[in-house]
Each structure stands twice: as C-alpha cells, then as structure tokens.
Amino acid sequence: MNQSMFLVLLAGILADNYAIQNFLGVESLLGNGSGAKKALKLGGLTAAVMIPSAAIAWPLQNYVLNNAPYLQTLVFVAIILLVAAVVSKAAKRPFDEGFVLLTVNGAALGLCLTTAQMGFGEAMMTAIGAGVGFALAMAVFASLRERVEDDKVPAAFRGLPVSLLIAAMMSLVLFAF
C-alpha cells in the first residue's frame, strides 16, 4: 500500500470521520443507547453495509448512471437496501425497521455519492476508512456516553443535549488530525 492510499484510509477513520466530522449517519450514533461492545457490533454491521454498497455503486455510477444522473440517489438507496438485506440475513438479524434505520443511513449514501467521483482504488480505501471510522466512532461514543450517565447532569441536559456535547468533544479531538 503506498503512502497516499494509507493517508486516505487514515483520513476516513480520523480527520474525515463520516459520523463525527461530516454528520453522516449521526442519528445512528446519537440514538444508540447500548454499551461499547454492542455499539462496536452495530457499527460493524453498518460498515458491512457501507463498504460493499460503495463497491457496487462505483461501477454503476461510472458505467451506467453518468448517462442518467437524476437516478443516482434512488439507485444508490436501492443498492444500500439490498446490501442491508443480505447483511441482515448473514448476521441472522431480522430485516426490520430498526435494522434499516441503523444501516441505511446518511453514512452509507454519503459514501456511495462521494466515492463514485473518485478512482476505484481511492474509492475503496475511502470506503474501508469510512466504515472502520464509523464503527470506531460508535464504540468510542457509546463508551463515553456510559461514563457520563453516571455523573450528575443537569436535568435539561440529560439525554440528547449531553450526547451532542460528547460528540462535540470527540469532534474537537479529531480536529487535531
């Protein structure tokens, strides 16, 4: 792997983290109330949908959708749904509303839209970086959220506000990269 590809991978995980820095799929991150281990599993499932979706979306965009750009969003969402259905079967999880809301999110669609404009190698590195970064962000966020819940938080800040403040701190940390 050459240095620039490694930097693309690292950027997807840290500096350009899809959930924290780009707000893509941030609802899955903020709405997840489980512990760090379960959050890592859920993040892994989302990554398992994101990466193959981007791999399928790239040739479709470059060989078919360039002639019909108005179909891009619709086709990409359909691809993500299909991949999510396959992943749900492989993971032996029901393909219900909860699973769809977790995996068919802004991170998956944003990744397909962004990587479709790149070269294939860079697109795949970005996809892997974004997927791993999303899973890690889910786990770290859940771990921090668990610790804060034990502290005394003012009533108005319990729930979503404190979750957003934790995300703000994570974002500030990633800013340094």
Binding site: N105, L113, S171
Partner: protein, 197 residues
C-alpha cells in the same frame, strides 16, 4: 394517528435526534438552513402523501424498506427541482441534498404515516414536524453564523467581528449549538409538564 407518528409529534427531542444530520450539516449559514429545512418539509409532505395513498399495497414484511424507497424518490424529485430552479443553492448543499433521502426522520415518518386516519391528518403531522425542524434549524444557524462568522444571512455584523469563535462555524460548533437548542427544548418541555400536573 398511528403511535409512531404521534410520538414524533409529542417528543420534540426525539424529532431533533432523528433530524440531527440536516440540523447539524446545514446550519453554518441561515440561508442554507432555511433551504434545507424547506427541503425536509417538502420531502416529508410528499412522501407522507404517497405512503398514505399506497398504504393498502405496502406489504407487512418489506413495508418499511418500500417507504425508504418512496422517500428516496421524493428526495430525488426535490433535488431535480433545486438543480433546475436554484442551482446555486443546490451546489451549496452538496451531497446533503441527497442525504435527506435516508435521514431517520423522513424514513420513520413515512413508515408510520401509512396508518394515519386520514390524508388531512398525515399532511398536518408532516407540516408540524417539518416546520418545527425548520424553526430549530434557522435558530441554530443564526447563532452559529453570528458567533462563527460574524454575519447573518451573509450580511456581515461588524460588532461581532472581534468576538468570532471559529469553532462555531465548524463541526464542534454545530454540536454545541444544537445541544443548547435541545437543552432549551427539554427545559421548556419539563416546565410545561410541571404546569400540567
């Protein structure tokens, strides 16, 4: 009204959570927030009407996935309208114009609205939810733009020039401003609850 959509109407914090992506991404500028808010409102209305009209034909198992496709179709229509009539604004939103197709708010609303009692009620709920998110987004954007860029809707405010906090215009500022808005919403909600008791 179905349980899911009535919960969406009654829990303003849940609404902010489900609509967090556009509420964070498009709030660095008041004009972008206004445009994104209107886009979310339009997608909610359009997808709500279509999902309600097709409610009898949506199968039990793949019903929610079908609703996501309906929302994606509506978002595509809105994208095309934006690209045709407001290209500058369409370019400003970038990929976030398409992301409306998969935000949890629109998907969950379309998934729940098919069980509404009437079309009027579905439209009313879509309007309530969409307008609420629009107002919150514009307020958050105004705070971020003033503090982060010393301007409001592109008009520079000289007084704030020396007090600019650059982080407010970036990702951390988006989280902090939305957290403050959510805390105000939560405080108002608990005050109302106490008065009710």
């Amino acid at each position: 009204m179905t349980e899911k959509t009535s919960i969406l109407q009654k829990d303003p914090l849940l609404l902010l959570l489900l609509g967090a992506c556009p509420a964070l991404a498009a709030t660095a500028d008041v004009r972008a927030a206004l445009g994104m808010g209107i886009m979310v409102l339009a997608v909610l209305l359009l997808s709500g009407i279509i999902a309600f009209a097709l409610r009898g034909r949506l199968s039990q198992g793949a019903g929610f996935a079908t609703c996501v496709i309906i929302v994606a179709g509506c978002a595509s229509v809105m994208q095309m309208l934006l690209a045709a009539f407001l290209p500058a604004f369409y370019n400003q939103l970038g990929i976030y114009a398409a992301i409306v197709a998969v935000i949890a708010l629109t998907g969950r609303f379309a998934g729940g609205v098919k069980e509404a009692e009437s079309m009027g009620q579905a439209v009313k709920t879509a309007l309530t939810i969409g307008l609420y998110l629009l107002v919150v987004m514009v307020i958050v954007a105004a705070v971020r733009e003033v503090l982060g860029f010393a301007s409001i809707a592109g008009v520079s405010l000289d007084f704030f020039e020396s007090y600019k906090i650059s982080a407010m215009g970036k990702a951390p500022g988006a989280y902090i401003a939305l957290a403050m808005a959510a805390a105000v919403v939560a405080a108002c909600g608990s005050k109302k609850e106490k008065e009710g008791k």
